[in-house]
C-alpha cells in the first residue's frame, strides 16, 4: 500500500474537517493533494497528534484528523495516553507507518520495523478503536468510517517506503501564513476567532 494512494482517497471525503499533519512525506503529499483551508501543516515531528487533540477538545462538534507517521508518534508516545484520557470523541488519527526514518535518506529503521506495534501501544494506552490496515481496501473501509460519526480512532496504515514526495513541490505557505489561513477558516465556519487575532 502506498501512502499517496491513501491520501488521494481521503481528499474527496474532506468536507469541513480540520486536518493536522506532522512533518514528513505526508505533509508534502497532503499539501500537494489538498488545498483545503482547514489544513494545518506542522513543520516538525512529535506534535501533530497532541495539537489535533487540543483542537478537538476546543471544538468538540468538529471532526479533527491527524495525519501522523511512525517516527513522529514514536517521538512522543506519551501523547497516546494523554489523548486516550482526554474524553474526546471527534479525533481520527492516521499513522502512515513505513517503518523507516525516510528523512535520513538512508532509510534507517524505526522501532516499528523491529518489535513495536503502534496499534497495540495505542490500545494499551486506552484508545479502544485502534487498528492496523495493510491494504488499500481495508484503509478505505476504516477511513470512511473514521471521517464521519463520533469516536476516537487510531488507524495504523502499513505503507511501503516511498520517495515520491521528493518529486513533489513542497508547500510554499510558511507556518505562520498557514496558521492564519487555518484560523480564518475556523472563523468562517464557526463565526469566532482565537483571542489573539484582531488586536491591531
Amino acid at each position: 500500500m502506498k501512502r499517496y494512494d491513501c491520501l488521494e482517497y481521503l481528499v474527496p471525503l474532506i468536507t469541513d474537517h480540520l486536518i493536522v499533519t506532522s512533518q514528513s512525506g505526508q505533509r508534502i503529499e497532503w499539501g500537494h493533494l489538498s488545498k483545503h483551508d482547514g489544513n494545518l501543516l506542522l513543520g516538525e515531528m512529535g506534535a501533530a497528534l497532541a495539537v489535533a487533540a487540543g483542537i478537538a477538545a476546543a471544538l468538540p462538534h468538529r471532526r479533527v484528523i491527524a495525519l501522523e507517521s511512525d517516527g513522529s508518534v514514536l517521538l512522543t508516545l506519551s501523547s497516546l495516553a494523554t489523548v486516550a484520557n482526554l474524553g474526546i470523541d471527534n479525533l481520527s488519527v492516521f499513522v502512515f507507518d513505513n517503518g523507516a526514518y525516510s528523512g535520513t535518506r538512508i532509510s534507517e529503521p524505526t522501532a516499528t520495523s523491529g518489535r513495536t506495534d503502534l496499534a497495540e501501544v495505542a490500545l494499551g494506552a486506552g484508545i479502544e478503536r485502534s487498528v492496523t490496515v495493510h491494504d488499500l481496501e481495508a484503509f478505505k473501509r476504516q477511513a470512511k468510517a473514521a471521517l464521519g460519526g463520533k469516536g476516537l480512532n487510531f488507524i495504523v496504515c502499513k505503507v511501503e517506503e516511498s520517495l515520491l514526495h521528493r518529486d513533489i513541490p513542497r508547500p510554499d505557505v510558511d507556518l505562520q501564513e498557514n496558521k492564519y489561513k487555518f484560523v480564518r477558516y475556523i472563523q468562517a465556519t464557526e463565526g469566532k476567532l482565537p483571542p489573539f487575532i484582531g488586536r491591531g
Binding site: 513543520g43 497532541a50 489535533a52 487533540a53 487540543g54 477538545a57 476546543a58 501523547s79 494523554t82 482565537p194
Partner: protein, 168 residues
C-alpha cells in the same frame, strides 16, 4: 500555597479570559486544580507529559480558546522542543503557569530541586519566552491580565513563574 491565594489565582485566570488549561500537576500550585475543575469557566486537559500539554494548549488556542499550560519548572526543559517547534514557530500564545520548584525563593527548596530551579529562568531567556516572577499575591489578578495581554500581543507563549508565597 494558602487556600485564599489559590482561590485568587484561579479567579484571576478566569477574569483574564483563560478558559482552557492543559497541565501536568506538580507540588507548588496544585491547589488550583480542584478549584478549576469545579469551575465551569474552565476546560481542563490533563497530560502525561509537558510535551503533550504544550501541544494541546496550542491546538486549543487555534481552536478559539484562551489557553494556559501549567507545569513545574522542570516541565519547561521537557517541553522545550514543543515550545520551539510548535508554539514559537507558529507564534501561538499560551499562558505558561510554572511552579518554580527549586528556585531561589522556593520555600521548600532542597538539594533535589535547586539545580533545575536555578536553570529555569536562563532557559526561558534562551527560548526568548517573556516571563515574570511572581512572589506573592499582592497584584496577582493584574499580573495575570498583563501576561495574557502580552502573550496575545506577541502571539507567543508568556510565562508566569510562581515562587515565594506560592511555594509554602
Amino acid at each position: 500555597m494558602e487556600a485564599e491565594l489559590a482561590k485568587r489565582l484561579v479567579g484571576g485566570l478566569g477574569d483574564a479570559g483563560i478558559d482552557f488549561m492543559s497541565y501536568l500537576p506538580e507540588s507548588r500550585l496544585s491547589q488550583i486544580l480542584p478549584l478549576m475543575r469545579s469551575d465551569p469557566r474552565f476546560r481542563l486537559a490533563p497530560a502525561a507529559s509537558e510535551t503533550d500539554a504544550v501541544s494541546i494548549a496550542v491546538g486549543a488556542t487555534l481552536g478559539g480558546k484562551q489557553s494556559a499550560c501549567y507545569m513545574e519548572s522542570t516541565g519547561i526543559f521537557v517541553s522545550s522542543y514543543q515550545l520551539v517547534v510548535v508554539a514559537l514557530h507558529l507564534r501561538v500564545p499560551v499562558l505558561l503557569l510554572v511552579g518554580h520548584l527549586g528556585g531561589f525563593d522556593d520555600q521548600r527548596n532542597s538539594f533535589l530541586y535547586s539545580l533545575p530551579g536555578r536553570l529555569l529562568l536562563p532557559t526561558l531567556d534562551a527560548l526568548h519566552i517573556e516571563h515574570t516572577v511572581v512572589k506573592n499575591g499582592d497584584e496577582i489578578e493584574g499580573d495575570i491580565k498583563t501576561a495574557v495581554r502580552t502573550m496575545n500581543a506577541l502571539r507567543e507563549p508568556v510565562a508566569l513563574v510562581f515562587t515565594g508565597d506560592f511555594t509554602i
